[in-house]
């Protein structure tokens, strides 16, 4: 009898705990102006440091407005690929932080899956949104026409070269008009150094960078029909795609790319952080963040006297009929988790982080281009001529497609370029790409 009572008591307690847990997990959203503690996640140290520096000012500003918002910064240092794997699981399990600072390349996948809060209503009421460049706004839109992320930086990508090394080798440093012209110079460099002359992200080891910082930049300079916005389909058999793979194959066959280093885990270390820094690989495909994040005085692999040793070329055209170009894409964006209890507080935070001084500080810390107008007179951004010059190029830059399905396109590109690094021809890589992309996206999303 006593035992039965004890059992009943245990069962009741357990039931109570379960009910309490259940109720707490489906608690209603907190009041908009009540106290809130929001969690912000960053996975790169330099970005985390930049965010951390702004938090006290944000909390003070909110307190002045009469709302207590506490920001808890979570720093989880991971590569983009590791971060993507981890945050996907967290989103799926409903345990993601309220605000995530993420590479915009992954935004469409998360938005599509319903993990992110649509920001359209907030942005429509926010005067600050007006100042964002049209190219930024367009890039931030998901396939369903909604905006799920607030870009806080733009990246302009081009070819960085070591002018000190090239000058010493007697190589022409003027803008090459076509890839044939550039390859001629690269062959001269390779003959002089006995090693590869250019690094472009390719293969599976570089992860998403093989698309976003490698192949995507080349294919973006072709006919611009790789992704058809009207049908939402990827034209995987597009001539520009085949021509871009041919270029990678040519660079590999001519031993101009560091094939082995590109196949190592963390391939950027041997190529960008070692080869480019010591001048043995004097040309690199790179975004504007190279000025700070990679090679700046506090960057991952500083180059002393950077601006006198390094300069940029636009990407050359694939044939004589084209013109050299730079590409642009949003760098990192703020995303608010759909299941957050503190949606209003989270949005206030990301809007505040996009205000003049806070944004200028972050942009300079990572070496990114402003996603909006009005920052060219705000220090410290205004003191960075390379970033201002890159911002001026935004209007004429070519955009790399970031539509729904870009994750799968990126994976197919990684596989196809890996084949090239292993000796496949351009046409073989194109076949691999078409098969992989069709497998991953499904036949309804490809032409």
């Amino acid at each position: 009898m006593i035992r039965n009572r004890i059992l009943s008591a245990v069962a009741l307690t357990a039931g109570g705990v379960l009910m309490a847990t259940g109720l707490s997990s489906c608690a209603a959203e907190a009041p908009a102006d009540g106290p809130a503690t929001i969690t912000v996640l960053a996975h790169q140290q330099v970005r985390a440091d930049a965010i951390k520096a702004e938090i006290p000012a944000f909390e003070a500003a909110m307190a002045k407005q009469g709302q207590k918002i506490t920001v808890k910064l979570e720093t989880d240092i991971l590569t983009d690929a590791q971060f993507s794997t981890k945050i996907t699981q967290q989103y799926n399990a409903g345990t993601a932080p309220d605000v995530v600072d993420m590479n915009s390349a992954g935004m469409s996948g998360y938005a599509g899956a319903g993990y992110l809060l649509p920001l359209d209503d907030y942005l429509a009421k926010w005067p600050g949104w007006e100042s964002f460049f049209p190219i930024t706004k367009a890039a931030a839109k998901a396939a369903d026409g909604k905006t799920y992320a607030l870009p806080h930086e733009m990246g302009v990508q081009s070819l960085f070269y070591r002018k000190d090394v090239l000058t010493k080798l007697g190589i022409d440093t003027s803008q090459p008009k076509t890839w044939d012209e550039l390859i001629g110079r690269l062959q001269k460099i390779s003959a002089a150094t006995g090693g590869p002359a250019i690094t472009l992200p390719a293969g599976t080891a570089w992860g998403g960078g093989s698309w976003a910082e490698g192949f995507g930049n080349i294919v973006a300079g072709t006919d611009g029909k790789f992704f058809d916005e009207s049908t939402g389909k990827w034209d995987v058999k597009n001539e520009g795609v085949a021509a871009s793979f041919d270029l990678f194959a040519k660079l590999t066959q001519d031993k101009l790319l560091p094939v082995q280093d590109l196949q190592n885990p963390n391939p950027w270390i041997a190529t960008k952080y070692k080869g480019f820094v010591d001048g043995s690989i004097p040309v690199a495909g790179q975004g504007s963040w190279g000025w700070k994040y990679d090679w700046g005085p506090s960057g991952s692999a500083p180059i002393e006297d950077l601006t006198s040793k390094v300069s940029t070329w636009n990407f050359p055209a694939l044939d004589a009929s084209g013109s050299p170009y730079v590409t642009t894409a949003p760098g990192f964006s703020w995303a608010v988790t759909a299941k957050t209890k503190y949606a209003d507080a989270s949005v206030k935070f990301i809007q505040w982080m996009s205000s003049d001084e806070a944004l200028a500080n972050q942009l300079v810390a990572v070496g990114a281009v402003s996603p909006r107008s009005g920052l060219d007179s705000v220090a410290p951004y205004s003191n960075e001529p390379q970033l201002l010059e890159a911002e001026a190029q935004l209007t004429k830059a070519v955009t790399v497609p970031y539509a729904d399905g870009v994750d799968q396109i990126s994976m197919a590109v990684q596989k196809a370029t890996e084949d090239i690094l292993n000796g496949a021809s351009g046409s073989e890589a194109t076949s691999t790409f078409v098969k992989q992309a069709t497998d991953l996206l499904g036949p309804t999303k490809v032409n």
Binding site: A81, S84, T85, T88, Q89, Y91, N92, S108, G109, Y110, G112, A113, G114, A143, D144, G203, T204, A205, Q260, Q263, N264, P265, D404, G405, D407, Q408, M411, E418, D419, L421, N422, D439, L440
Partner: protein, 310 residues
């Protein structure tokens, strides 16, 4: 509680043996219940869920993620016609055969026999050197080997080969599969050695002595006397090592991430790529189910062939 002469309890009106059985059943439930619950929650339920997922197109990213559909056996059909998956199965087979079944077993047996010998000196140092790789965490072991096999002239192995006039070799690119096979052998010898040492303890010394007196060579003694007597533990080891090696992930992921060009993409890495990198949970689950079936067949075959109780 009192009982009558027929063994019936006056209180419960139950025969004594039935009461005892009931008590035993309760005790059994109490003792096995927690383990059964844990196994049910953490092993059986995930397997059932993985099987369910394998019949759907569940993905974690993109608009399809919002509405996963039941697609029957499509994932299995796709995988069994997919060159990458079949290739990863083949590589896993080679990896198991060369590193676990041949390498670890042979070297583990040699080590155990050496340690059993009376004339062997410095047994402690020898045993510790063999066991060390097993106790070192996987990440540490991987990083140590990554450093040793570094492709530049600063790599330890390249420094050694340089003494013999050889140039630097990119071991993890040019000989990636062989490298991970060697590393896995290095890590697994200890377990084999411990298993075989225990088995060798049960071999009566008199039998060995008798065979020796009859003029049998060391190899003949091992083949005709020792090996048949330790057949059971050897087959059990082969079963265990084949199963654990089939699931190896960390060692290969840290060293090569499945590269270069998929040369070291074992099934575990293929599953990880599909399920977590490509977020195709349905397809990754299907690959896991296929692997589970293969491992089960492997295990049952071992048990049947060896006629051992596991």
């Amino acid at each position: 509680m009192s009982t009558n002469s027929a063994g019936i309890t006056l209180a419960g009106r139950l025969p004594r043996h039935k009461l005892k059985n009931r008590r035993n059943a309760r005790l059994l439930l109490l003792m096995l219940g927690p383990s059964a619950l844990l196994i049910g929650v953490f092993v059986v339920a995930p397997v059932i869920y993985a099987f369910y997922l394998s019949l759907t197109n569940t993905t974690l990213l993109g608009f399809e993620a919002r509405n996963p559909k039941f697609i029957g056996l499509d994932n299995f059909k796709y995988l069994l016609g997919n060159g990458d998956f079949l290739s990863s199965l083949g590589k896993t087979g080679i990896f198991i055969a060369l590193s676990a079944i041949i390498g670890q077993t042979a070297l583990g047996m040699i080590s155990a026999l050496l340690l059993k010998n009376k004339w062997m000196r410095a047994k402690g140092i020898f045993g510790a050197a063999i066991v060390m790789p097993m106790v070192v965490p996987e990440v540490v072991a991987s990083l140590a080997w990554a450093s040793m096999l570094y492709s530049g002239p600063e790599g330890t192995v390249n420094m050694i080969t340089h003494l013999f006039g050889m140039g630097a070799v990119a071991w993890l690119q040019q000989y990636a599969l062989i490298s991970i096979i060697v590393i896995n052998i290095w890590r697994g010898i200890a377990f084999a050695m411990i298993m075989f040492q225990a088995a060798l303890e049960d071999v009566p010394d008199e039998l060995i002595e008798a065979a020796r007196i009859d003029g049998a060579s060391a190899l003949q003694i091992f083949r005709v006397v020792t090996l048949p007597l330790i057949r059971g533990p050897v087959f059990l080891y082969l079963l265990l090592t084949a199963i654990t090696t089939a699931g190896i992930f960390g060692l290969v992921y840290f060293l090569t991430q499945g590269g270069p060009g998929g040369d070291t993409q074992l099934v575990a890495l293929f599953i990880f790529d599909r399920a977590f990198q490509f977020s195709q949970i349905g397809l990754g689950s299907a690959a896991s189910v296929i692997m589970l079936v293969i491992v089960l067949i492997l295990g049952l075959t071992y048990v049947r062939v060896a006629k051992v109780e596991v």
